[in-house]
């Protein structure tokens, strides 16, 4: 007999919107054991779990949820970690409504099972426990990983487990990629990322920060002079796009990357305790509608801005950000200007931004992406008075490495070309994550890192035992 299903997900305790809009502490507080078990009860433990097909790395969802029901949290963690090395991170930042939870059978009639929340719970549960690390005999092979974002971290973890000697090179002074410099503390506490990095170090992975491959050593030097047998490139999509509108270089116009890096990585929110300054302004316009835009808008609020607008050219339904982040932004008081497109920046004599001219849009026929194409309404221009504008319309790959490696194939957008196993056009060189796909998600980058780790392992093992 079908049992009675509670129609809604168990809500997660949150910080009050009024309070949290003024601090950088985490917004969502996570399930207690009781809530986790209760939510796990909503899962039907499907024979053909559709949820699993929605997960880019195929986490064994019913299996881990069944273990949560039985309060076997350690075992649940082991099940998740077979495919996803960072449950505490993905449970927080995956766009579940488009992935696992989108396909959940319960979701057909009711709210889907809170898979992400359960994953986060399990991830946090084991976070505070010492994990035993299983490691194979050393193979003698040396692998270099370029970039310490989720792709590089996931690749490093597997390779180290299989006995290879792994060194990660990171351009910035702190490892973690976007997890450290982009996604804010209130959404992903940095101690969680650092804990994962500590675990890697315990596995023997070396991390060299302040090391830009392409500048300090070329790819060929890593392979031919420094004795690396294979290289994985997980350099991400870090170069901010601008709209090329008049006035874009006025003071007060930031890329989201700069604004978030100043706040997160450089801790400008603690200025003057930390030395890096940030301009916040009274009225802030954020251009774009993805996660990056939501993060920038909510950061601006927390830094003391009085009014923060999201300027987005389509409507609410098309916002690409995670649903939860949109709702949180709304609750905190971010104002949304939909069907609005910026046309130029207006400044004063000293070169400071004073306003953003926008034009109203209407939705026309569906375009190539299947979404209805926004078209400007003639004569509907208006000026939004703002002193800060944050451009969050996307990022492309950083060319520092590819510029110095002419024989590495890239496409016309500058992304590194790699096949489904992560193999690039260069022998012994693999790539994955945003640098291959363009800006995507944490779980996809991690998945790509693990696929590449498998290919690298096979490539090295096919060479036989390491000769010196």
């Amino acid at each position: 007999m079908a049992k009675q299903i509670i129609p809604k997900k168990h809500p997660m305790p949150h910080q009050d919107p009024q309070v949290r809009a003024k601090n950088f502490d985490e917004v969502a507080l996570g399930y207690t054991e009781e809530l986790a078990v209760a939510e796990a009860e909503r899962c039907l433990n499907c024979k053909k779990p559709l949820c699993k097909q929605g997960c880019p790395v195929g986490v064994d969802i019913p299996e881990f949820i069944a273990l949560v029901k039985e309060r076997k949290f350690d075992e649940a963690a082991r099940v998740i970690k077979r495919t996803n090395a960072l449950p505490a991170v993905c449970g927080r930042v995956c766009p579940q409504e488009n992935q696992c939870e989108k396909f959940c059978v319960v979701g057909k009639k009711h709210e889907p099972v809170g898979i992400g929340r359960l994953e986060r719970f399990v991830g946090d549960y084991i976070m505070n426990k010492e994990e035993e690390i299983e490691k194979s005999e050393p193979t003698g092979y040396k692998v270099a990983i370029v970039g310490s974002g989720p792709a590089g971290l996931a690749c490093a973890a597997d390779l180290a487990r299989w006995g290879h000697s792994v060194t990660i090179f990171e351009a910035l002074h702190t490892p973690g990629g976007v997890l450290m410099y982009g996604i804010p503390e209130f959404r992903l506490p940095k101690r969680i990322v650092q804990k994962e990095i500590e675990n890697l170090k315990k596995m023997g992975v070396e991390i060299e920060t302040n090391a830009i491959i392409g500048q300090i050593a070329s790819l060929d030097e890593l392979l031919n002079e420094e004795g690396y047998d294979a290289v994985f490139l997980g350099t991400g999509a870090g170069t901010p796009y601008f709209m090329n509108l008049p006035g874009e270089n006025l003071n007060g116009v930031y890329s989201a990357n700069e604004f978030l890096t100043r706040s997160n990585l450089m801790k400008a929110y603690r200025f003057p305790v930390s030395d890096t300054p940030i301009k916040v302004g009274k009225k802030v316009a954020v251009l774009g509608g993805g996660n990056v835009a939501m993060d920038a808008a909510r950061t601006a609020l927390r830094l003391g801005a009085e009014e923060v607008y999201i300027v987005y050219r389509r409507s609410r339904a098309e916002l690409p950000a995670r649903l939860e982040e949109i709702e949180h932004a709304e609750e905190e008081g971010v104002k949304f200007l939909f069907l609005t497109n910026p046309t130029r920046y207006i400044g004063n004599e000293e070169g400071w931004l004073t306003g953003l001219e926008c034009i109203k849009m209407e939705l026309g026929e569906p375009d190539a992406s299947g979404r209805r194409k926004p078209i400007p309404i003639a004569g509907s221009e208006f000026v939004l008075p703002v002193d800060i504008a944050i451009v969050a319309i996307g990022q492309g790959p950083n060319p520092l490495l590819t510029k110095t490696t002419p024989d590495l194939e890239t496409n016309k957008r500058g992304n590194i070309v790699a096949d489904e196993t992560g193999k690039t056009s260069k022998e012994g060189v693999y790539a994955g994550g945003d640098v291959v796909t363009g800006a995507a998600t944490v779980i996809k980058a991690m998945g790509a890192g693990r696929v590449a780790a498998r290919s690298i392992h096979e490539y090295l093992m096919a060479k036989g035992p390491k000769k010196n």
Partner: protein, 283 residues
Amino acid sequence: MYQIMSKKTLAPAIHEYEILAPKVAKKAKAGQFIILRVDENGERIPLTIADYNREAGTITIVFAEAGYSTKKLGKLNAGDAVQDFVGPLGVPSHVDKFGKVVMVAGGVGVAPVFPIAREMKAAGNHVVGIMGARSKNLIFWEERMKEVCHELLVTTDDGSYVRKGFVTDVLREYIEKEGKPDLVMAIGPLPMMRAVANLTKEYGIKTMVSLNSIMVDGTGMCGACRVTVGGETRFVCVDGPEFDGHLVDFEEQLMRSRKYKAEEQHALNRGGCGCGGGGKCHG
């Protein structure tokens, strides 16, 4: 951590550090820069590579105490260490056999000019150095410059040493007397580089300048360093720092360099930076 192997105070509030960073020293080229962080709370400070010693594994930097962060850096001593040190960043200077090259240095700009002048000389150019400072006590590295320049002309704003005048006065006199050089390169405060570029434009002499825009990462990731060059937006950290001085929008750069003035209220009173450009240093 990256150890300071030696410290020299060259002039009031201007210091020279040799910092141990073998990997950076191995790759450093004239015209490139590094970014350092003094400590865990420190901001990322970009500084030009003034010299390098591949055997000893050191990089030489010379900096003026301009505000809070450079003052904090200036408090360190030989034996101390900085938290982070990354480089070499930016594109090296384009060194070739041009013929006659005039290297113009304003204030602390002498330091970045020095290794480029040395390379220019080694490439077979006739190198003319012009260095200027506000006053005699702010002149440094004159001997070092003499070694790498065929001719060296020195000037002070107040006439307290050699002669009175701005570097642009000296440059104009030189061009009038000796004819047009094949290349002018100017490094110093923005107003000084703008003045040089305006001057050489009159004569139609190709001029390179090294921009010191506000930066964060120095890897092309944030866009803080954007500059308009020939109508296009470029990132100084990865496309530069050297650009054609006749194409740079200096007005925009000057405005952008003033961005954080108000935020740095907590900074101590500024020491002189010794710019010889007749303009206020650092915007």
